[in-house]
Symmetry: C2
């Protein structure tokens, strides 16, 4: 039987959880390939529904593809501002991505051929995305422990990214991940700092036995 | 600027990531309420799209509701075995949940009123589920650090759980979480130990620049 976590080890896990931030400000310094490998292994050791391991990561190293992703996200940023109506102006003042500057740019995809995986997905097929999100969260926490920042950008047209990166129709890009060195970590979530939204009380997210009680 | 993680702290984060397991075997001992609170805070400090915090947790303390969830999951287990065809027999031999025995039983839901949240969800509305999955992964890792096991059960009919727990139609149960003490953690993922599926090589999940290159 494995040794229990020491107090120091347990505190370190909570520290990563509480000090992790969705980063949008990066320094352009490159990421050590050995660290990148550890982060990808962390992602690969996430839980997955029926152990299907649905994550497929495209590492973007070609500058023209990075530029293409910048363009795609910028188009969606404008479309989102429009859709937000009266909050569109406030949204446009936020920095919502760090694609140009981050040292490593990754596109996370759902694999193709997912319909063959039924275990845990017959009634909830979207559990494949849940598994990929767990993988990304592992990477996020490991990056924080390595002193690196990460940001998950979901402001993009899926078919535009598919076309840019040759992703087959059965697969699906679900995250543009900006990873890299940062000058500092935000002391609180950036959207809270900027007044976009405040953290709820945990109590308001908890119910007992019945929702409607 | 926050202190870098020490080598010990960094190793502890990786240890939680690599030793976390999707548990289905539990001891019936109760979970310390202070620990449960820490785990729920860990979940609540997950990233969320547009900081929407879409997680709503129902703690199940009523024995008749626990029994109701057992029944719902058992029905879906049989339906899944049927849908699996020739692998149905092998599936039926697996232990796929620990609902009866676990010390704490939680049902994780997507909140209602999600359509008002457009930031990061205009083209990818399912990012709300991704946020909830990140919250669950936080809880999973924190539980491992606390020496507790957790399992995510997605074998259920959504409307049956909705009806049992009075979850409004705009909200959606996405996980039955079994949490509790365990005799030991599986040394490898249980589905691998049981020969259901093997871990892929990380290399086979990685691509560079274009999927079709």
């Amino acid at each position: 039987m494995a040794e229990p976590f020491s107090d120091t080890e347990r505190a370190a896990v909570y520290r990563a959880i509480h000090e992790r931030r969705d980063m949008r400000h990066f320094l352009p310094d490159p990421v050590d390939p050995a660290i990148l490998q550890r982060l990808l292994q962390a992602a690969h050791h996430a839980p997955s529904v029926g152990f299907m391991q649905p994550w497929r990561v495209i590492r973007i190293t070609a500058p023209e593809l990075r530029a293409g992703l910048v363009e795609i996200v910028e188009r969606e940023r404008l479309a989102t501002a429009e859709a937000l109506g009266e909050r569109g102006g406030a949204f446009m003042k936020l920095k919502v991505e760090g694609i140009r500057d981050c040292g490593e740019l990754l596109v996370m995809n759902l694999m193709d051929g997912r319909e063959a995986h039924i275990f845990g997905r017959r009634t909830l097929p979207e559990m494949d995305l849940a598994s990929v999100a767990c993988a990304i969260q592992n990477m996020w926490l490991a990056a924080r422990a390595e002193g690196l920042g990460m940001g998950w950008v979901s402001l993009f047209d899926v078919d535009a990214v598919r076309a840019l990166l040759g992703v087959p129709v059965g697969a699906k890009p679900v995250a543009i991940l900006c990873l890299g060195h940062v000058a500092e970590f935000y002391p609180a979530p950036m959207l809270q700092q900027e007044g976009w939204k405040q953290r709820m009380e945990l109590q308001d997210c908890l119910l007992e036995n019945r929702w409607d009680a």
